[in-house]
Subunit: 345 residues, 2 copies
DNA sequence: CAGCGTGATGCACACGTGTGCAGACCGGGT
DNA sequence: ACCCGGTCTGCACACGTGTGCATCACGCTG
């Protein structure tokens, strides 16, 4: 059996309320008594029951985290940031992966509500707005990561993807590329659209047109999908001289596909990624990418949510808040002057 | 306010006990009443309070998962397997990363105990036996993944690393390698020792000796550590013709280091990994590795734990159980006949 | 008509913790 | 002697759910 405050009360000869107060550090209890009680608690290896406390206080000290998939390194790093911040504040994490499956999402939401999670952080790109509304109706503080459906929720934190994508594109244009394609992931919703928008904006600013077939979407994030997508692009009548990939995962597949097609990166074709996941530094050639501060995004999201929790009990409705983080262009070796231009030098 | 069974009781004109029974599907309640109650519950958007239930039943429907680090793809995939199995059985996951930090581990354990987690799965390589004992004393069912300190716990599930490592080593020996080095991760405890043992056993079986300086350990799992380690090995007076790496993460760093040193893999030197993480198929050259069934390991661990939970309430002590899973050698392009041998052909 | 069994429901308590309120105790000032 | 204020502690109830037991209505049998 686990020991309870009643056991401690019996042993120290006080009431269980006194024990409760003493352990919570209530100044009502005299120092001497509190000391005795703490001592006894330690000796009896007392551990408070989170269930009982949460039942009484309506606070679970748990944050829910909904993520598209755990084994995507991008999300892993964000979760890492969340965990750091949560841990520090004495909160625990309740993590679940939606796997782009609506039925599964529904179960996750239900579970989080049943556990009376204090708040929820959504990093799932495919999160439906119906389900978001459902959470909101229950009064859950929600923070959205990565701009996903941010208009429905009031608190969000995201990376400036449009700007990042513009920088990537600018970099390629500066190198002399004119025929640039975009490879997106149709499952990534808003994020892929933002990056596409940045790409288009910068191309347009440079007076360059984008043939329809140069914008291609695949339905997943793995390198395998990157290979599929680049297969398509490389087999166009007019293949591009550079491919802007939605993220590093796809780019890694693109690199492999190019190699298999006998193309040398970056001499024959340039490839860019996005996110700067760990492995992007170890591809061959190392990937030019946009370094998104993933860990900061996670920890900022957690902090924002925690702030909301501190304020909400008053019933005070916060101002909607958006935090935008900026990353930086990381030029490595997968991009270079296109061969056509090089030959004219 | 959230609705409770009392609210439903008031609305349907029955007692709260009847509601409780009806919703739990107790056959004591007449079909008609149960139907009315279920209907009302749905209309009122009732969601049971996990805290209250868990307080009363002493079951939280939550499994604790302790992992070394979330952003290591190897662990991510194991967690993925755990989640699949847990979700199916109606259990939730409580994930925490120890980051090889004992203080942090202590906090994690405490949190899990306070939440009265139904059971714990430990995937953390650096988990101290003190803390394990602490968990056991509290009567937690524990399943250990990857052989880590399995002798202290009664239920474990792991991959046959010794055999896998032998196969990898055998493969290199068959190719003609005689000067083979092992690059381990000193933080991975038992796992790295098993793989080292397999390596040594197979080398010995082939009548080959291993110079002391051919066994080298680094203190982490990132590719960067792999680069550090291979830097050491390549600068020996007698550098090896093949490097057996503890895992893919290290191997990925080794590949990069070799390239930077102007060495061609596999023509100049062979490199092997272990685990078959997603990226090992996309390195250049694609990595020869040992495919460990990570997802199965996770789901098997969860299933074993769930079995324990079903049985334990009776107080019946289970037989200790070890489940050993086997993987398979995956020969890709990072290994080849050593140049010295090739030249004599 | 009494007695009994059966099926459906309510009563009351329990789980472990937190908290408003009352009350006990003590010392000091009139 | 009385009162007052301050300090400390206990009583009792609450949180939402689950469950043993008593209760009640009903129909059947002898």
């Amino acid at each position: 059996m686990t020991t309870t405050i009643k056991d401690i009360a019996k042993r120290t000869g006080v009431s269980h309320s006194t024990v409760s107060r003493a352990l919570r550090g209530d100044p009502l209890i005299s120092f001497e008594t509190a000391k005795r009680i703490r001592q006894a608690a330690k000796e009896m290896a007392y551990l408070p029951s989170a269930a009982a406390r949460s039942l009484k206080t309506n606070r679970s000290q748990v944050l829910g985290v909904i993520v598209s998939s755990i084994d995507d390194p991008f999300f892993s790093e964000i979760v890492f940031g969340i965990e750091e911040a949560a841990q520090e504040a004495g909160y625990r994490l309740f993590i679940a992966a939606s796997q782009h499956d609506p039925a599964r999402e529904q179960k996750i939401i239900q579970a989080m509500m049943e556990h009376r999670t204090d708040g929820v952080i959504i990093c799932s790109s495919s999160f439906s707005s119906d389900q978001g509304r459902q959470l909101l109706e229950y009064g859950f503080p929600i923070v959205v990561v990565n701009h996903q459906g941010a208009e429905n929720f009031h608190y969000s934190i995201f990376h400036d993807d449009i700007n990042g994508s513009r920088q990537i594109t600018r970099h390629l244009i500066d190198l002399g590329h004119r025929k640039v394609a975009y490879l997106g992931n149709s499952l990534s919703g808003r994020t892929t659209l933002d990056r596409l928008a940045g790409f288009q904006a910068e191309m347009q600013a440079a007076g360059l047109t984008i043939p329809d077939e140069y914008v291609h979407h695949v339905a997943g994030n793995s390198p395998q999908f990157g290979m599929d997508g680049s297969n398509y692009l490389l087999n166009l009548k007019q293949p591009p001289t550079a491919i802007v990939c939605f993220n590093d995962m796809l780019a890694i597949g693109v690199l492999k596909c190019c190699r298999q097609a006998g193309l040398n990166v970056p001499d024959d074709i340039s490839v860019t990624g996005f996110d700067n996941i760990t492995f992007s530094a170890y591809t061959h050639p190392p990937l030019t990418t946009f370094d998104q501060p993933k860990q900061s995004i996670g920890s900022e999201a957690a902090r924002l949510l925690l702030d909301l929790l501190d304020a909400n009990p008053n019933g005070a409705v916060f101002q909607p808040k958006e935090i935008v983080l900026k990353g930086r262009l990381l030029v490595r070796d997968s991009t270079a002057v296109p061969s056509a231009v090089r030959n004219t030098l």
